[in-house]
Symmetry: none
Subunit: 224 residues, 4 copies
Amino acid sequence: MGSPILPPAKDPQLVLQRREQIVRAATALFIQKGYHGTTTREIARASGLGTGTLYEYVTSKEDILYLVCDMIHTELEARLDQVPTPGETAANQMPRLLEGFLRVIDELQDIILLMYQETQSLPRGHMHYVLRREEAITERFATLIRRGIEDHSFTLSPSSVTLMAHNITVLGQMWAFRRWSLRHTYPLTAFIETQTSLIMRELCARDEGMIATSAQTPEGGSIS
Amino acid sequence: MGSPILPPAKDPQLVLQRREQIVRAATALFIQKGYHGTTTREIARASGLGTGTLYEYVTSKEDILYLVCDMIHTELEARLDQVPTPGETAANQMPRLLEGFLRVIDELQDIILLMYQETQSLPRGHMHYVLRREEAITERFATLIRRGIEDHSFTLSPSSVTLMAHNITVLGQMWAFRRWSLRHTYPLTAFIETQTSLIMRELCARDEGMIATSAQTPEGGSIS
Amino acid sequence: MGSPILPPAKDPQLVLQRREQIVRAATALFIQKGYHGTTTREIARASGLGTGTLYEYVTSKEDILYLVCDMIHTELEARLDQVPTPGETAANQMPRLLEGFLRVIDELQDIILLMYQETQSLPRGHMHYVLRREEAITERFATLIRRGIEDHSFTLSPSSVTLMAHNITVLGQMWAFRRWSLRHTYPLTAFIETQTSLIMRELCARDEGMIATSAQTPEGGSIS
Amino acid sequence: MGSPILPPAKDPQLVLQRREQIVRAATALFIQKGYHGTTTREIARASGLGTGTLYEYVTSKEDILYLVCDMIHTELEARLDQVPTPGETAANQMPRLLEGFLRVIDELQDIILLMYQETQSLPRGHMHYVLRREEAITERFATLIRRGIEDHSFTLSPSSVTLMAHNITVLGQMWAFRRWSLRHTYPLTAFIETQTSLIMRELCARDEGMIATSAQTPEGGSIS
DNA sequence: AATGAATGAGGATTCATTCAT
DNA sequence: AATGAATGAATCCTCATTCAT
């Protein structure tokens, strides 16, 4: 939330408002033409500001990209916060969270994709900040999984919690990146159902544990 | 396979050699500084060529990016072709293929990441060509899965074949994108083993089918 | 009249001023070194502008050439407008107009020559616009000739009006192109007088008509 | 005729042949794309020569332009030499010569126009040589006019010979430059007839002389 | 004699950023 | 606080010319 960038001190109220204008305009332009394909002039114009005014509220073009990425995460998290997850056990809540997560990703697909593609254009420092925010999403799933282990509705081995959380987050990335390829075959609802089913099976499997050798091969073809 | 771009008619032998020099140099630079952060002069110099010579073998900077992406896929596929997959049933082969796939991705992680990040900078036409090559990877897994269904070593519902193939391919993307985050917790081998185990469980599950609605079975969180 | 090119919307006053600076500087450079021999940087510098500033007021180098040609015609026509042509009959006015025309051409000889030589470097569309303005000059003479036919001070066949108008305009082109050759023998005044005399003889010939075979009118096609 | 440029000494026979190939190819390209719009590579290729071979027979691109201009004049003069001019008096011959001249110009219009437009791109030295050849054409007409004065078929004042010769030559230039404007109204034949008629009237006028001072004829038909 | 590969100086154009008003 | 005019470094790409083979 707290941007590490602090341009000239002004009325903080106004700064916030102007930055929002800028980020909103920049986001639309970046989606349409990419970060490198968009000029600061265009951003200023689309923000309803003068070329110079832009730099009163932002220190550089990179800064704008940073703010955009920041905003996307903020938006993403805000929406996730509103996903209702009724039910007492984690096993009851997880499918809801997953569905909510993927629906949010679907709604924000353009900006999500943008974020994944342009993050690299950020200077190292900012990039890490953005990546850390990405981890916050993963942590949400990790937390729920851990709760599920505690309430015994999940049977997952604790050592796999992080990986499962990543696997789940990646589903969002997957839907954003591969919609062009998946859409025809799997509409959003089918995608959600199927993936939820798969994930739930992992989480609730009653068998011998996850990081086991792939045990079901009749004659014994281990993976290693 | 053949690049759609073939600038001036010259000794094809030399063209190939020079292009390889260029692609090799460009790849390294793109990884280090990104596509937009690299100048054509740098590429020329790093290729051991003069500024102008570069353009004897390439029509534009975008063309270089295209060739780089093309080369990455060619390299990727060539390596996949060499993954040994002994065993009679698909169920025996799949773990081998998966391990080989992820190891190759790990070796090529820099350029794989590069490709995912910079594909968007390609002009539409070329972008689609690159994306189609991406689908070829997915198709490899799809084919093996279908064979497994035929030889009854997999129990997957046919309607889920494509999705599972995507899920597998995404594991590669995941490893490339998230290594910075996963590495500490999961070294490559652990990642491979765990993910293989998960995938195999999906493929060989003996239960009623994959596209089940997410089941909140009260008594035990299991969906089966 | 209005240039079809109007790049960024700015203070029109300033645009006009800057463009004039540019056109003035470019004209001098083009005369000295030719269009292709002049660089945009030179033009910018000579205009007292930065390299980039140039492009705030002009869209391309070709655009500059267009503006130069446009300016030349505007200048030419403005000067022609100021040529006093007293006298009641067209026959009285024509020699004055001719003299004024040729004197203007002589004064502007460098830029006139420039225009004739570089017009071809313009893109098709603009070229036609320039050529149409050239025809406007011819039309001035055609109009006067027609008036002379009406007031009976000229005896020219109507079918020859256009040709005679062209013949007159060409005298200007001739003086611009051939001054290096004609100068020694015919100073401007002599050139004007002689050519005027010839032209007037055509216009006032009392004989049988112009598109006849060369007629040796017995009594003598005198001018008076 | 004698090019002042003499590249590496080789079999003179071959040099001539190769140069002709080059000039022929270059002429076509220059007409189509202009001098500056044509590359030496294109010229070489169109000449059926290698890029380097071109420079065995030519010292620079400018040299090619020079050779092209030279060839055009040679061609022009050769064709003029073949214009039949029967008749005993110059007055009989002139219309024939004029017609032949204009017909040749019409046939060669593309290259004539080319020559007028690109001469300026030549370095000073070569330019003057080309211009001097232009004067040779004018001199042909001057010679005939002088003969006409001698044989009393022309009544032109000797001081006007040069100017009349220029006026005639300019008719060719005019037809080349203004065909786009004149064509509709005056087909070639009409143009020739009318202009011949005008010229002949000047040459044969029996009146008081051509370089009459701008008519101070007090009574009226004055040009002033 | 013929070649085409190699070259780098040079050119048009863009754009993030500044700063005087 | 707001602006937009000004800037020049930086970039991609071209092309006349050379030279080893």
